[in-house]
Amino acid sequence: MSTEKQDQNKSKLSRRDILAGLAALPVVGVIGYGLLRNKADAEKRNSSLLSDIKPEVQNGIPPLIIGDTLRVGIIGSGGRGGYLMKALGFVNPDRIDEYTEKGKTDKYWVQYLNDFREQEDLNVKITAVCDIFDKNAEKAIRAGANIHRTGKGSKMGDAPKRYATYKELLASPDVDAVIIATPDHWHVPVALEAARNGKHVYCEKPLSWSIAETYEIRKTVKESGIVFQLGHQGRQTESYNVARSLIKQDVIGKISLIEVCTNRNDPNGAWVYDIAPEANEKTIDWKQFIGQAPWHDFSLERFFRWRCWWDYSTGLSGDLFTHEYDALNQILDLGIPHSAMASGGIYFFKDGRTVPDVLNMAMEYPDRDLTLLYSATLASEKNRGKVIMGHDAYLELSDTLVINVDPQSTRYKQKLEQGIVEPFKPIFSYVPGQGAVDAVTSPTEKYFAGRGLLYTYRDGKAVDTTHLHLREWINCIRAGKGAQPSCNIDQAFEEAMTAHMGTISYKEGRRTYWDKEKEVIV
């Protein structure tokens, strides 16, 4: 049979067969060599670089302290107040239905709602609400009653009581702690009253609107013994903590310059918020809105877009620079600068606002031998990052962290020469749980996420930093015995004074100085 013959022929391995059978084996050798080289290179880099760098990466979050239900009052329940309530676990049922509806066409909202429902229960009850705009107050009451985080028509809990004034709310025995999310010019008056009534305070940033009230609130908070947390949620951003530990180990060398910026380019980011159709003189307590600000006739624009006027706002310096400043103060313990010089103008949003939309500030720290530069525009989204520049390397910071080596570095000179590190190339990067960035959609949200202000990652899971910041405050309240949160009144005082130095410099067109002994701006 012919096939048998063929098999017979094949049964003997010819030299040709053996050659063709084994010819590819040397390729395995080449790949093996490549693999071993790759491993050796990686080990060389790791052992020589990471051996002296020990970043402290926080492992998870501290446990929630078990305690009595904390009864919380909300003072100011507009945009930010609503967000803070969500971070506490309370959302208006209408909003829940809205998320569900949106989720039918856009999966982002399904995830958004799931994340909210899975957010840890902080054992908090909203017992009181004060907002001078009826619609906001009603929304907050409905949110406060929504204890099961469900939509309309489901079972609700007790509705919080609405108070006409913050003073009445703060006098209530049903309130243990308050969240202040009013316009800037109301932060201190409300916080002072709260401290005097022994209510714990979570106050939105910046701490104060005027310099004088900054001293008063620090003194009163300290005397009262309440737990005070300023709303810089960036304190909870993991990469900032990692940066702090790296800089402490002198990884980037002597720091001479720090550059931070704000870059926004949408009406919302420039504080041109929507005006609610229900808003009018009957639904807004205008007199109460004015407070310590100079009198102005009723204005819907001023009410909703108050950040655009010095009368109620602290401008870019107080509103946005403080985020950057507080991050750096957390990482480097900067404190109040020796001097500040600011310039800028209203260059894009010529809508009657009095606060600048472009601001540049140089703050000097001669005792630290460094300058802090801040540059902001509300009319371009070109992100210039947050960079800490050292002699040996520079550290770029957002919710991620990258350290690049300087070619002229002294510390890494030998390693540069040996080719272990390459100039301007990263030597260390920290990326907390990459994936969930996709849960961030709008330009403003992306801006915040990029700076670690909206979401931070713990064990790879997206966690709302505002939730963590509130949680830390609540833990300190429950721990008692003088427990202090990360952005306490001393940090807040430094934040406010630094921002005021910039604002005064801009307004008066001169350099301002901080007299350390007397604690005054001159």
Binding site: S11, L22, L25, Q434
Partner: protein
């Protein structure tokens, strides 16, 4: 119909280069105990995103997937290079590549954290490699050039 010389050469080169790619990728992962596909999986897009994210979020499933992936890559690669069981290896390779594609499909409107190395619309390099793998399955060469040739001869001799 036997292959012509040029067909044989082209198919063998294709087999060895894809094998090289797989073996090296697998080897690098096996030699680095820290390696994990977690961030890649978390960066998934497309209609199967949820499944890949679930894998990434589940420690034991992730560890299993990581080791299957690394060993799979290395063994498929080794098989293609040395020319042994290449038809099975090609099919397994198609399966792996399909998973990579489904986790990062080149559909318009999907952006990934890891930047792409080119411009793609539906077809990307993963898919091209997948179809090349299918060619290897359809046109085997290990009996001509590879360990299979020795095995086959030996087997026939025994019979």
């Amino acid at each position: 119909m036997p292959y012509t010389q040029i067909q044989r050469l082209a198919l063998v080169v294709l087999r060895i280069t894809i094998g090289w790619h797989f073996l090296y990728e697998g080897g690098v992962k096996l030699l680095n105990p820290q390696w994990t596909a977690k961030s890649y999986l978390l960066d998934s897009g497309g209609f199967m995103k949820g499944i890949f994210e679930w894998i990434a979020g589940n420690q034991s499933v992730l560890a299993f997937t990581d080791s299957m992936n690394a060993w799979g890559l290395a063994l498929i690669g080794l098989s293609l290079v040395v020319g042994l069981f290449t038809r099975y290896a090609s099919l397994a390779g198609v399966f792996l590549l399909l998973l990579y594609y489904l986790s990062h499909p080149a559909f318009p409107g999907i952006e990934y954290l890891f930047p792409s190395d080119g411009s793609y619309f539906i077809i990307n390099k993963t898919l091209v490699e997948l179809f090349a793998m299918l060619v290897l399955f359809a046109f085997p060469t290990s009996h001509i050039f590879g360990l299979q040739r020795l095995l086959k001869s030996k087997k026939s001799y025994l019979v």
